[in-house]
Amino acid sequence: MKAKILFVVLLVALIATACAAPTAAPTAAPPTKAPAAAPTTAPAAPTAAPAAATKAPEPTKAPAPTTAPAATSKGTIKIASQSPLSGDQASLGEGIKLGTQLAVEQLSKPLVDLGYKVEYVPFDDQAKPDVGVANAKNLVTDPDIMVVIGHLNSGVAIPSSEVYKDTDLAMVSPANTNPNVTDRGYATVNRVCGRDDVQGPSGAEFAAKELKVKSVYILHDKTTYGQGVAEFFRDTAKTLGLNILGFEGTEEKANFDPILTPIKAANPDLIYFGGLYPQAGPLIKQARAKGINSILLGPDGLDSSDFAKLAGDAAVNTYYTSVAAPAAAFPDAAQFIKDFKAKFNKDPQPFAAHAYDSAAIALKAIAAVAKDAKPTRKAVSAAIRATKDFKGITGVYTFNKNGDPTIAKYFFIKVTSGDPAKWDANPIAKTLEIAPPEKK
């Protein structure tokens, strides 16, 4: 019995100590706590009222002591991000996190000048829908959070955005290219990346008209993103009369031999790879080693100097679609890369620049509606949706009624060197401007 009770006490103590302030909770009554929180939570009272979801009974004591010091500070505005920070997609998710972080650090000055404290809160969605939704529920309860930048996976973004929608919390996605993300027509969901159903077909047109290839072998990575792009590519390629020699998906990350052997025998003019650079790099390296000389074409998932690092000289003769112009063409982007390197000591991962732009759009929109008092989430969502001709580092953005960028510029970029340092010098092969398909 003794051991049992000891254990229970231990367990409770463990939970309590794990949560840092165990003794503070029972002893410190709310009144003593409220003043400590006062400076940060000051204007929360006015915002709580109009927000639709926060109608539940308010603890009556909270607003009283908090209204006083509002003169010096208007409170805190938090920018959250959700992306996988652990697990095998951590490196991509971290790109989103670091890009957002950099934007918050560099671009929050207008808000700070207005008297706000700007904070950044990163969440790890572990690339799992259940974790993403739980995090979403967690972050919507913090009224300081005005916008979410994320996610990496459409599979996590779709269920999580259902939660954001219910509380009018705006989400700007740097990476979710699945049409379903915006096709639901939610007022809160926006993205700054291209859609699969634009990138795929434009890739096919580029292949047929510019590269003038006759036959193509299509591979994808069996993810929402990769397979989506690849299927749209295939459909358009078919109508353009390209000879499709194969269409295959693979979850393999290291050993591409068994897939490459039939490709070598089929000898296509072009290999289209719907997926991301961590797979594409080793894939093309192994393909070139096997003596496959086909051109490689891919979506914006290939856009990273790490692609050159992984593939080495095999990266040459690769083309990729990108909504982000290479840094040489966009001076702001060059600055971003420089700052990113200076701060984090590495090249930006893909989606880092998009995350930066997402956060920049959000910060600008918040600043526009936060002149007098802390805005409501609804106002922020509306302001973000109203974004017009925002000149970011990856392009110029105007959102349509679904939250897609109205006219996205698509660059086709040719990789000319296997040296990661020269990634930014890759020339533009072609530029296309395409509006997203409107949902019927």
Binding site: M1, I15, C19, D130, A134, K137, I158, D166, T223, N345
Partner: protein, 471 residues
């Protein structure tokens, strides 16, 4: 269990029933007050989370303390059925965590039947979860239209079909369990583990690829939007809210504000607010059924048969236990729970794709069973709760707190190091899984028999380590 001769202070304090009842009531009341009183603006403050966990801990006390059963039921209902939903209205994160705890508890209880009761190591349990989820996802969304012509049937099916499909999903999952069980029964021990692992992966890969030649699962794109069950109780709920609102006027002690607030919230609740509560109750209902079935079954003839098979298969055969039916029953029962939960999961998430059903999920559920204590129903529930709360609530919130300390530019006094300069490699949000792994190791080292082991097993472990080593 060791009987200590001299009662400790704690035992003397809790000697009388009244003391125990007072203690549990006080615990519930004080923690509830703290939950309500902790300002929601501090939702990220660890205190808020700690307070809620302490509050939820009252269920554990309820299990431990010896008080009349009727009172246990009443307090249990008060905590689980009333207070948690109300707190969920205050902060829906609580409700989400509670719901996921229930989902994983039910999964763990299902797996407990297979692993804990019958001793069949199943590493592909998530396969049945997948079957349940996809059963409703395909037909409760426009997806089915892609292979069934609209002249035949229109999809998505109406919300009302949710309930018949609930039984169908349960049944299909059980059937899958039997289908897996039939051929692999010849296989024993760890071979079985690998066959089930293979089967779990197999179903996931099939779901991931069955978008061609015929598009049934929509492959990695996943299925959305999935119908939710009808809110049949909405008008009743609103009516109750109005009544509560009316009745609360004039109550003393600020109770009018509390009840009036709840009442007006209930009056005006929209589906977005109602569904989390609805799902919470649905899941709670299923878990009640699961616990009931688990308890009944474990004491029944088949439960004894499972135990016999687990301890010594050959001896069990010699005693005339029908091995095939016994094992199949374990597979089918365990699988049906997973099927039911899978369907609820699909409806709750509105979107599913195969990524939710990886091998790691199976391992996660297995970890809950073992951390809690194999074969022990309360243990498994506690294990599922502990790991889910750890993963969804404690670790994220600790890393958020650390993050905000870092951003505030806290300076470590002695070495005069400003935390804001900490490089991004040390970002606490990145290492939740590492901590999770460490916790698993430490828990196993400290308490190999699980948090709340089944009595028999506990005795086994502590009695004779050498004998157990061969088991």
């Amino acid at each position: 269990m060791s009987k200590s001769t001299t009662p400790s202070l704690w035992q003397r304090l809790m000697a009388t029933q009244n003391a125990r009842i007072t203690f549990i009531l006080a615990w519930v009341v004080i923690t509830s007050y703290l939950v309500v009183a902790t300002p929601r603006q501090l939702a990220f403050g660890l205190a808020t989370q700690a307070v809620f966990i302490l509050f939820a801990g009252s269920v554990l006390w309820l299990y431990y303390l010896q008080i009349p059963n009727a009172l246990k039921v009443v307090i249990g209902f008060l905590v689980l059925g009333v207070l948690i939903p109300v707190f969920g209205g205050l902060n829906q994160y609580y409700l989400e965590v509670a719901t996921q705890v229930c989902i994983f508890s039910a999964l763990a209880l299902g797996l407990n039947i297979v692993v804990g009761f019958a001793g069949l190591l199943d590493l592909g349990y998530v396969a049945f979860y997948l079957v349940g989820a996809y059963t409703w996802a395909i037909f409760g969304s426009p997806q089915a239209q892609k292979f069934i012509p609209p002249e035949l049937l229109k999809f998505p099916l109406a919300q009302e079909f949710f309930f018949p499909f609930f039984f169908l999903a349960t049944f299909l999952a059980a059937l899958t369990g039997i289908m897996l069980g039939l051929p692999v029964l010849r296989v024993r021990g760890d071979y079985l583990a690998v066959v089930t692992l293979g089967f779990g992966e197999l179903l996931r890969v099939v779901a991931n690829n069955l978008d061609k030649p015929v598009n049934i699962t929509n492959g990695p794109q996943g299925i959305t939007p999935i119908q939710r069950p009808p809110l049949f109780f909405r008008s009743w709920f609103e009516g109750f809210g109005t009544a509560l609102h009316g009745a609360s006027t004039g109550l003393p002690l600020g109770l009018d504000k509390v009840f009036g607030g709840i009442g007006s919230w209930m009056e005006n609740a929209n589906p977005a607010q109602l569904y989390p509560i609805y799902f919470y109750f649905l899941v709670l209902l299923v878990i009640a059924i699961v616990i009931f079935v688990s308890r009944r079954v474990s004491d029944s003839r088949i439960g004894r048969a499972w135990e016999a098979v687990r301890e010594d298969e050959d001896a069990a055969v010699a005693m005339g236990i029908p091995i095939v039916t016994t094992k199949l029953a374990a597979f089918a029962t365990g699988a049906s729970f997973a099927g039911a939960m899978g369907m609820l999961f699909a409806a709750k998430q509105v979107f599913i794709n195969p990524e939710s059903f990886t091998f790691l999920e199976s391992i996660g559920v297995l970890a809950m069973v073992i951390v809690g204590g194999m074969g022990s129903i309360p243990g498994v529930v506690l294990g599922a709760t502990a790991l889910t709360v750890l993963n969804l609530q404690i670790l994220p919130n600790i890393s958020l707190a650390l993050n905000s300390i870092r951003q505030a530019g806290y300076v470590i006094p002695v070495i005069n190091y400003n935390l804001a300069q900490l490089p991004s490699q040390f970002e606490p949000a990145k290492y939740q899984r590492m901590v999770f792994g460490l916790v698993l190791i430490v828990m196993m080292l400290v308490r190999p028999e699980g948090l709340l082991p089944a009595k028999r097993r506990r005795v086994e472990i502590h009695q004779d380590k050498e004998v157990e080593a061969i088991v």
